[in-house]
């Protein structure tokens, strides 16, 4: 009887260990950010125990302090422009690289891929030197340009993966049945790659919004949200206003990822297993 119990315990042990491992990792990944959110409501100007009571004043201050709000708005603006431009450029290049034959195609594909391996720090420094040599003053525009260069190859990677997944014979069939090039793109290709496009757009936006190194080196006096947080933390101790602004951003990002998942699931439903498809789209994006 005891032997049976021990055997059962041994059989269940991997299960317990797996749960413990997953819980531990989730606590380490999300615990700090949850604490950060919690202390954005603490009625004390220093971030430490004991708990001094609930307040919303740090949120009011973050909103009223021009810098925090401007930084977030700057980030949103740059990310919106970069994501849109990346989708256009990335889809063009993905189509060209996967569907057309031309001399130097391998080289072009390699160039797009190599951008993804170059660290952003080096891209940022190169951008800074490049613009200062040209005598172009640094601003959100230079940030946007340099971010575009590293972000649209990501769209190329995601959309190419989507294009490679479905067979060209469907496109040929559409043309043979008398569809025009535009009709074929609209009715055959677009529905197939819609999930990839959605994932690519969302990741392009997130990449731009989260990008620190490039914004830091090529932004001059214009601050994006990560650059603002960095400069505050370089100058002073931890501040509850940063907690408040960070909490809002983190919450928005949780909603964005969840919303993206639902949207991609819906777009890829016709393909059958919507959930799996959606998650694999999100993963190709997450993995660069």
């Amino acid at each position: 009887m005891r032997a049976g119990l021990a055997a059962r315990a041994r059989r269940r042990l991997p299960g317990v260990a797996s749960v413990a491992l997953v819980v531990l990792v989730m606590v380490v990944l999300f615990g700090p950010v949850l604490m950060l959110a919690l202390f954005s409501f603490n009625d004390s100007s220093i971030i430490s125990l004991p708990w001094e009571g609930f307040t919303m004043r740090w949120y009011e201050e973050a909103w009223n302090a021009g810098q925090a709000r401007d930084a977030v708005l700057n980030s949103l603006l740059v990310a919106a422009v970069v994501a849109t431009a990346s989708l256009v450029l990335g889809t063009l290049a993905a189509w060209g690289l996967t569907r057309l034959r031309f001399a130097g195609r391998g080289l072009a594909a390699g160039l797009h891929g190599s951008v993804l391996v170059v660290p952003w720090l080096i891209i940022g420094v190169a951008g800074l030197i490049f613009f200062s040599e040209l005598g172009v003053s640094l601003s959100l525009q230079t940030v946007g340009l340099m971010q575009l260069v590293v972000t649209f190859p990501l769209v190329v990677a995601i959309v190419s993966a989507g294009l490679v997944r479905f067979s060209r014979s469907q496109e040929e069939a559409a043309i043979d049945l008398g569809a025009s090039q535009a009709q074929m793109l609209r009715h055959v290709v677009l529905p197939q790659i819609a999930p990839s496009l959605a994932a690519a757009g969302i990741f392009a936006f997130a990449w731009s919004f989260n990008n620190f190194e490039i914004s830091f080196f090529t932004g001059g006096f214009d601050q994006t949200f990560p650059v603002w947080v960095f400069s505050i933390l370089r100058q002073s101790e931890n501040l509850p206003v940063v907690n408040a602004a960070s909490t809002v951003i983190a919450l928005a990002q949780v909603l964005a990822v969840f919303g993206a998942w639902l949207a991609i699931k819906r777009l890829s439903r016709r393909g059958g297993s919507g959930g799996n498809e959606a998650i694999s789209e999100l993963m190709t994006g997450a993995v660069r």
Partner: protein, 297 residues
Amino acid sequence: MESASLPLGRRHRGERRRSLLRPLAFMSLPMAILGLFFLAPMLVMLVIALQYGILSGQSGFTLTNFSDVLGDELYREVALTTVQIATAAMVIQLLLAVPLAYVLAFKAGRWEIPLLLFFVLADELNPMVRIYAWRMLLGREGLINSALLDIGLIEQPIDALLFSKFAVIVVLSTSYLTYTVIPIYAAMKAIDTNMFEAARDLGAGWWTTFRRVLLPLIAPGIFVALLLVYIPLFTDFASPALVGGTEGYMLGNAVNDLVLESGDLNGGAAMSMLMLLAAGVFAVIAYRLAKIKQLEQ
């Protein structure tokens, strides 16, 4: 005869022109952007790295920027610290990622997709927010120290938690874990689970199964993870700047200080080029290894 061949020839020529025009239409804009804002800045940086600085009073091309960086004792120490921190963070992540990927791929059942979604979310959270959150926890007056003091476990706050190599390793490990887990998970998903049964039937214990069956099959995933994570770990600059202090000073900080603090664009450019070279060599090796392993299967 002639009149029949004429339109045919024209059609051919027309097709050839279109087959040249279409790639041009699709590729010219992306390639122009890459040329102008990726290749050109890299080239300018290389040229600047090969020139005398304005302050030196000399002009023309030189290798002194490179030899200055390579010969400097301090930078050698910084490089060593960087290797230590990046390698420690990489090893910790791999030790966590292999079992995690295994759980996700084979044990999680209906939790698989929600958990993956959590990993994507962890990756998408703003890195600066994450660094700040850790700083808040680890500081001298931070939450961990104040909680430990409150319950009387320690009498003095532990200073080494923040502004140390330890802090940088913790922050970096949590920042890139998603990139380490997902390629390994993808490699595991492709494994036929009958392999495990076969190994067990043939009398292999879990360690033998892991070493002889699982590890060779997930090796390409591990190389992809190395490619995605090890290079950014080497060049990370925000984490060491905010939680590293002097002990956790890394190469990324050195580049930043050269370029923005001392205004030595030439030195910063030389250092960036050296880091790029190292990253390139590493990328080629990891890429080759991943490819070779895939071919072997």
